[in-house]
């Protein structure tokens, strides 16, 4: 499912004066994670076993709706897993990073590093 979210329009030269491996690498970027809010959610979950909806909202300083929409997209891609429970009478939504999500983040980090390296070497 995650593969369907990667950019597929490979271009011979980058749009911002970057060509060669850097441009190719840019075209392979996982657009699902590339979005700032989703990148934040995945990064925060990478260093925590789990985080609640409210933890993420506070951490990323955003609104309920924003977190909800982006978390749903990550959930659909099976990058994160969501569990709902009750703490007393209060509903509690908890998110965890899945193995696929962790791999996606690692791939994304590698892409970013490759982009920087390619630009420096070029």
């Amino acid at each position: 499912m995650a593969r369907s979210n990667t950019l597929s329009k490979a271009k011979p030269a980058g749009p911002h004066g970057v060509s060669g491996p850097a441009a190719a690498s840019a075209s392979d970027l996982d657009r699902l994670i590339h979005e700032r809010m989703r990148l934040g959610i995945v990064s925060a979950l990478a260093v925590n076993e789990s985080l609640t909806f409210n933890d993420l909202k506070k951490l990323l300083n955003t609104t309920d709706g924003n977190i909800s929409v982006h978390a749903r997209k990550l959930e659909d891609a099976q990058y994160i897993a969501c569990s709902k429970s009750f703490e007393g009478r209060v509903p509690k939504t908890e998110y965890r990073l899945t193995a696929a999500g962790r791999r996606a983040l690692e791939r994304y980090l590698n892409h970013m590093e490759a982009l920087i390296r390619a630009t420096r070497e070029g």
Binding site: S43, I116, T119
Partner: protein, 204 residues
């Protein structure tokens, strides 16, 4: 009729790809640091500190001279500091997060002010001949430091701080002769108890 001119669109040059990549990496690092708790609080180090505190309390209880009593506890404080520094370093080596990471720095900055206050009050109380108040003040201030810094760590750390503060509050309003017992219970017992729990739950 006036001539129609198209609105000129000022196109800003988009940031270079590598600059965006670096910005993204920075964002990932900052988010990870913000989302992390400082977990290099040493559990086993706390247990060792607790044991040395119990021994020191036994030694200090025999002293009648206030100067030697104070010197004994200062030596214990210095020994505990060395044990804690070594244990944090050792635990940090196996952890994902560096002891110099943002949460670790926040932890250190929050821990320091009550400890500095403790050093100054120790000197002032000793000069004023109020050494019997020191156990309560030390426990209270150490508890305040741990509670403060615990905001950037796992939940058990501020809980430990509150227990130290409660112990200190009791010591302040108890007979002076109980001072060493409170020190043994606080710096000894609480360190051993919470150190053991932290070690079991948070990896050493």
């Amino acid at each position: 009729m006036g001539s129609v001119r198209p609105i000129s669109v000022i196109r800003e040059e988009p940031p270079a790809l590598h600059a965006r990549a670096m910005d993204n990496l920075r964002y990932i690092r900052e988010t990870m640091e913000g989302a992390s708790a400082f977990t290099a609080v040493p559990g086993w180090g706390g247990v060792v500190m607790g044991m040395t505190a119990v021994l020191t309390a036994a030694l200090a209880a025999r002293e009648t001279d206030h100067g030697i009593w104070l010197a004994t506890w200062i030596a214990e404080a210095m020994l505990s500091f060395c044990i804690a520094a070594w244990a944090v370093h050792r635990k940090g080596q196996g952890a994902v997060m560096s002891p110099l990471s943002k949460p670790a720095r926040k932890f250190g900055l929050s821990f320091s002010p009550p400890m500095i206050a403790g050093v100054l009050l120790t000197a002032a109380f000793y000069r004023a001949g109020l050494t019997t108040l020191l156990p309560g003040a030390w426990l209270l201030l150490y508890g305040a430091a741990v509670t403060n810094a615990g905001a950037f760590s796992v939940r058990i750390v501020p809980a430990m701080g509150l227990c130290f503060m409660a112990c200190g509050a009791c010591a302040l309003f108890s007979p002076a002769a109980w001072g060493n017992a409170y020190m043994a219970a606080g710096f000894g017992g609480l360190h051993i108890l919470f150190g053991f729990v932290i070690a079991r739950r948070h990896g050493g």
